[in-house]
């Protein structure tokens, strides 16, 4: 049972990484002078991992998933840094959004367990912070704040769309 669940999560991680590398890496679009959209779907894995998983393990998972993406983006450190950050703040966000009566012991923060409304606010906070961190690290200077914010906001909208589609289609239940 346990092994099956682990295998399932590894499978999702691979699917997300492959989709990111083969499809969304090639997608860059904008309007006219406006080149701000880059869709990132792989943070969905960190979103849906079980609640009871320790924070340290989560960060290590994030680090290695990020490393795989960095290898294919030729951008050492950027993706892994953002994912480690996202894994680190997940506990804080979960505490912030804790429903009355707390979480069930063996549940995951998914639509199946906690409903669409809860998942929307949860994923919105997480993905927005991830994108903000990602684009800040990519630019690596605070001289270009406008650029960071524009990219964050516009990429966030499209990433959310695709992550929600992913979560509705696969609807993780563990």
């Amino acid at each position: 049972m346990m092994n099956e669940i682990v295998r399932k999560y590894i499978g999702w991680g691979l699917v997300l990484a492959l989709v990111q590398i083969f499809v969304f890496r090639e997608v860059n679009f904008g309007w006219g002078d406006f080149y701000y959209v880059h869709i990132l779907v792989y943070p969905a894995l960190i979103l849906v991992l079980p609640i009871k998983i320790p924070r340290t393990y989560l960060m290590i998972i994030g680090f290695f998933l990020g490393l795989i993406l960095d290898l294919f983006y030729l951008s050492p450190g950027i993706h892994s840094s953002a994912l480690v950050f996202m894994a680190f703040i997940r506990t804080l966000v979960l505490n912030l959004l804790e429903p009355r009566g707390g979480y069930k012991v063996n549940s995951s923060p998914t639509i199946y367990h906690l409903g669409m409304n809860w998942f929307l606010s949860y994923s919105a906070i997480m993905i927005f912070l991830h994108h903000l961190f990602y684009f800040s690290v990519e630019v690596f200077t605070f001289n270009e704040m406008l650029y960071i914010w524009l990219r964050t906001v516009f990429s966030f909208i499209f990433s959310m769309l695709f992550i929600l589609i992913f979560c509705v289609i696969f609807n993780p239940r563990y």
Binding site: E26, N28, D33, F34, H38, P54, L74, P76, S81
Partner: protein
């Protein structure tokens, strides 16, 4: 001692976070500082083979386009040959350097390219085995620049794209002889900026920008782009010039690496210029 261990255990997540982030930033910084390339050197090798396979998959759709551009390229080269035959032999560099050309050109294929980020990288399928090495310019056919080689392994080479925050290319306004540096400030992959042209310079919209040849990266006279708009920021002594690139970097597929055969000798002089 026990307290110390307990402190570490209690704040384990925080310490791990700091540790992992330091690793990430270390990678980031080594990647930005060009001299410590060993780590990346290995990484280029790891994924380059796979990357090439991915690229072959996408190649199929581009074929139409490429055959057209290759034909145009060949035509242009033929033109050049004819042109050079008409010139006096003493004019050409080939004779000055004892029959050896000043540049050797290595054709290469782009196997990874991205234009969406602030610092974009590319990968080409030529490496040190083909005579490509660090710090060589890469052009897109006869007009338009593509990037500069950074880390080379035996069979592959990573470029910094022209669309990179560290790009700085010495350029000259054709027929007017003012020069400046081309940099990328914007998020638009078709526009770049020309900096350090003094306010007394006279030029017009639509003037062509070419490489100056003041570095060992690019030979003089390769077209870069067209001046689209310019203004003088208040209180500045230099123009702020926006240029439209002549080539579409996102479509760069078959590129040419320029190996300046006299680079070592030139660098020797360029290096000592700053000391005096």
């Amino acid at each position: 001692m026990v307290d110390l261990i307990r402190f570490f255990l209690r704040n384990g997540a925080l310490f791990l976070f700091i540790l992992l982030q330091s690793i990430c930033f270390w990678m980031l910084i080594t990647f930005n500082q060009s001299h410590r390339a060993i780590f990346l050197h290995n990484k280029v090798l790891v994924t380059a083979g796979l990357q090439e396979r991915i690229d072959n998959l996408f190649d199929y759709w581009d074929l139409y386009h490429i055959s057209d551009s290759l034909a145009a390229e060949n035509a242009l080269l033929l033109e050049k040959i004819f042109e050079s035959q008409q010139k006096e032999p003493a004019d050409t560099l080939a004779t000055i350097h004892g029959g050896k050309g000043a540049y050797s050109i290595v054709p290469a294929k782009v196997i990874y390219n991205r234009i969406g980020g602030r610092n974009n990288n590319m990968l080409i399928n030529r490496g040190t085995n083909d005579g490509v090495d660090r710090g060589m310019g890469v052009i897109d056919g006869s007009t338009g620049l593509v990037g500069i080689t950074r880390y080379c392994s035996a069979n592959f080479c990573r470029l910094i794209s022209l669309l990179h925050s560290q790009t700085m290319i010495s350029a000259r306004i054709q027929n007017r002889d003012y020069f400046g540096s081309v940099v990328w400030h914007s998020v638009n992959p078709t526009r770049m900026n020309l900096e350090a042209v003094p306010v007394h310079a006279r030029f017009e919209r639509g003037d062509t920008l070419v490489t100056s040849g003041y570095s060992t990266l690019f030979p003089p006279g390769v077209e870069i782009g067209i001046i689209e708009d310019f203004d003088v920021p208040p209180g500045s002594n230099f123009y702020n010039i926006q240029i439209r690139l002549i080539n579409d970097i996102s479509k760069a597929k078959y590129v040419y690496v320029i190996n300046d055969l006299l680079a070592e000798e030139k660098k020797l002089h360029l290096m000592h210029l700053d000391d005096e």
